[in-house]
């Protein structure tokens, strides 16, 4: 974890309201593990004081990038920042994904919308290739499909309006793959990032079919380093559950540990 002022190298629109921001951070970049995040202070926000957490998308040499959706006050201001401008960053933060072993379980990556951003490093660094299931509402919500293909991963797309790939929810082709009697593969592990509803559905599939799953949770944060206790989720403990921090114990949790019945 380092706190540094970093320079924006580029900040370009991807599709629709999604943007890719590359920052030069020579000391932070080599420390980043798949599934970790950067906590970013967007100084021009003025009266909005808090940092915003972003999954780290790609790491290349001395840079890292984030892939974000213009979704509110912070990302709106961020989307108007230009190369050469500076951001205050604390990174890398959080407990990320476990890299699959070569010859081990086949990784099935499940992403919703900008959840794809958290998956790229995992796919890139995993010695074991698998399948990426990506879902979104419309065609424009399907991000970086080609980049995953370029890594040698099969990508299966679903959109709710049917404008790209299969029509429906991302869990449909996922279930079809796992349940396919012709499939010779029986040893899977799920990795997911996306909206809470999708993560819950993936967790349920993992639970029912007894497949291990790691879920990257997306919660509001303030401090990002474990002190404010904003980003907590219910996690099984003893005979009950306790609140654990998405920023510190997470954002990636073993799905079996999450106490969904206590979640909001």
């Amino acid at each position: 974890m380092l706190e540094q002022t970093v320079q924006i190298v580029s900040n370009e629109r991807d599709t629709d309201s999604y943007f890719r921001l590359v920052a030069r951070a020579p000391q932070i970049a080599p420390l980043i593990q798949p599934g970790q995040f950067a906590h970013v202070r967007v100084l021009p926000m003025r009266d909005a004081l808090l940092r915003r957490p972003f999954s780290i998308f790609q790491v290349e040499g001395e840079t890292f990038s984030i892939l974000y959706k213009n979704i509110g006050k912070g990302t709106e201001v961020l989307s108007r920042m230009r190369s050469g401008e500076e951001l205050e960053v604390i990174a890398p933060l959080g407990h990320g994904f476990t890299l699959p072993n070569a010859g081990g379980e086949i990784p099935l990556l499940v992403a919703g919308g900008y959840g794809m951003a958290a998956m790229y490093l995992l796919a890139q660094r995993s010695p074991q290739k698998g399948i990426v299931f990506v879902g979104g509402r419309r065609r424009v919500d399907i991000l970086c499909e080609k980049e995953f293909q370029a890594l040698g991963w099969e990508v299966r797309v679903t959109t709710e309006d049917g404008s790209h790939g299969e029509k429906g929810l991302v869990t449909q082709p996922l279930l079809a793959e796992i349940r396919n009697p012709k499939s010779e593969i029986r040893n899977y592990k799920l990795f997911a990032c996306g909206p809470t509803g999708m993560l819950k559905a993936v967790g349920k599939i993992a639970d029912e079919l007894k497949i291990p799953a790691e879920l990257s949770m997306d919660e509001h944060m303030c401090c990002g380093v474990g002190v404010c206790l904003t980003c907590v989720i219910p996690v099984k403990a003893g005979n009950g559950w306790e609140y654990q921090r998405t920023c510190t114990e997470g954002p990636v949790f073993d799905s079996r540990q999450i106490a969904w019945e206590a979640a909001k």
Partner: protein, 323 residues
């Protein structure tokens, strides 16, 4: 090694006046007047990778009651203009959990640890105070009688003069550690509360805690916090906190630790000018963790510029013009 015999007076350079930054809170000496607000700094260890905790005046930990506390449902915080509303609900490990998990780190620091404690009864406050009195190395206890986000305990003690005095007196009975009473801002006049805490044996006052507040999502018409209401902190509360410090300082002789929206040295100096002996950086830790260290450096620069040799000269130095 090169020998260096040049005197500070030589070559016309002005003698650099020694600057005193240390202050006293009861029997506790702080190396400088800058602390952190309970609940914004975890148990210190979380920030150890980002800043040198030994530069601080003191580390103040999140509120601890006797047993572990799960805290409120989420969402627990919401950002508002120049501020933050929180309703965490004092999630914490309890006395034993704290001692096991966090004390080994904290006791190794060179600066004092101030432990913020609370309970749902006067007896629980006293019991927690007794437990920490038995723990060697604690710097001071801060009595949280002002958290707005818990159903029992907290602000109910800080907004009733008699209960406030009972809590302070009960803790005073069981410990010689310096007691700091963290005051609620949610009172019509803080003076009688400040006086009650002083008379009951408090060594200092922390002013102030968060202000009761609420935010609503107009699209869904739902409150933005699961707890419905919370406590407002951050730069937006600074002027109201300054006024409280000023009013309390007129009512008591014991030192005041001023807090509420401090973002820089100027804010801290303003609190001291109003009557605070020390200050605490709170919400700013969440977005700018270097703030406490920047405040210390900035106070020193201000004193050099104003040719003030002792930081204690700032306390209560506000000039009120009488007609």
């Amino acid at each position: 090694m090169k020998s260096k015999v040049q005197s500070p007076m030589s070559k016309g350079s002005e003698p650099k006046a020694e600057i005193n930054l240390s202050v006293k809170i009861g029997s506790l000496t702080l190396q400088n007047p800058v602390t952190v607000a309970s609940g914004t700094f975890g148990y210190g260890v979380e920030y150890a990778q980002l800043l040198d905790l030994n530069q601080l005046g003191a580390v103040v930990v999140k509120g601890i009651r006797l047993g572990p506390v799960r805290g409120n449902p989420t969402p627990r915080t919401v950002e508002v203009a120049s501020g933050l509303i929180n309703a965490i609900g004092l999630q914490g490990p309890g006395v034993d959990g704290f001692i096991k998990k966090y004390w080994p780190f904290l006791k190794g620091l060179k600066v004092p640890t101030i432990i913020n404690i609370w309970g749902t009864t006067v007896e629980e406050y006293a019991e927690v105070a007794r437990r920490f009195d038995a723990l060697a190395g604690v710097g001071a206890l801060e009595l949280n009688v002002s958290c707005p986000n818990i159903k029992e305990g907290g602000a109910q003690f800080g907004t009733d003069v008699k209960l406030l005095a009972q809590v302070v007196a009960a803790c005073r009975k069981v410990t010689q550690l310096p007691l700091i009473t963290k005051m609620s801002p949610n009172v019509v006049n803080i003076a009688p509360f400040a006086k009650a805490a002083e008379d009951a044996g408090s060594d200092a006052l922390a002013i102030t805690n968060s202000y009761p507040a609420m935010a609503i999502d107009i699209e869904t018409r739902k409150p933005k916090l699961a707890n419905i209401t919370g406590g407002l902190t951050g730069p937006c509360i600074k002027p109201i906190a300054i006024k409280l410090v000023w009013e309390a300082a007129k009512a008591v002789k014991i030192p005041i630790i001023g807090m509420g929206g401090i973002q820089n040295a100027a804010d801290a100096i303003e609190f001291m000018t109003a009557g605070a002996t020390a200050v605490a950086v709170g919400t700013a830790n969440f977005y700018a963790p270097q703030t406490p260290l920047q405040v210390i450096a900035g106070i020193r620069e201000f004193m050099e510029r104003k040719k003030i040799s002792d930081v204690r000269e700032l306390t209560g130095s506000v000039q009120i013009h009488k007609k």
